[in-house]
Symmetry: C2
Subunit: 125 residues, 2 copies
């Protein structure tokens, strides 16, 4: 996958990840102002080895919307993504976020857990 085209397909279309210095507070905040994205963040934080494929999240939105959410998290610098075969693996950029905006990620993780809890308790009565 990854939609490489033509001759350059071996190297083309690398995933763009902003450098630590280029993280923008307003963009990170916007990325973390959505329940689905908070849930993703909390889920990643709970993972011991820290890498998860997109499918494993069981989110209550469509596939294309998921794709958009992961893209938003990546472009704002909240997560790092890399391709392995047909899967795209996600991990939190904890070091970078803690360095630039100390405390913010921890807050988001707590709130993301709340979102997930809300889903499990309110969706199966």
């Amino acid at each position: 996958m990854r939609y490489h085209r033509g001759v350059a397909s071996r190297t083309a279309t690398e995933l763009v990840h902003p450098d630590r210095k280029e993280l923008r507070f307003t963009e990170v905040m916007a990325a973390l102002s959505d329940p689905v994205r908070l849930a993703i963040v909390a889920r990643l934080a709970a993972e011991p080895d820290g890498e998860l494929a997109c499918t494993t999240f069981a989110l209550p939105v469509s596939k294309s919307t998921q794709s958009g959410h992961f893209k938003a998290l990546r472009e704002s610098g909240v997560i790092h993504q890399r391709d392995e075969g047909t899967r795209r693996l996600n991990r939190l950029r904890r070091d970078d976020l803690d360095a630039r905006f100390p405390g913010l990620l921890d807050l988001a993780i707590v709130q993301g857990r709340n979102v997930i809890d809300g889903w499990s308790t309110r969706k199966r009565p």
Copy 2:
């Protein structure tokens, strides 16, 4: 001002302020994901007595847009507004925010100062 109408004009149209318990993380984050609103927050934090009228901010956006930004901050619970004569006075809801989302407001204040500094250094060369 305040657009009270008809008979009930003495008591009508109170400014709505969410209670501390009803603050939503996603909405507060969205409110704090805009440079203009961050600047407002930082400016309020720097004020000793903590109350400022909307005009005193000298923001680089139109009056109607300012109005919208203050409304967004109020409805999300970041600021409290009260009317005094023809002016609308704003103050930070620091206690409520610190109680619910400890550390978040301090981060926003720092970043809001950066925004303001960016304006002063980049707009008058």
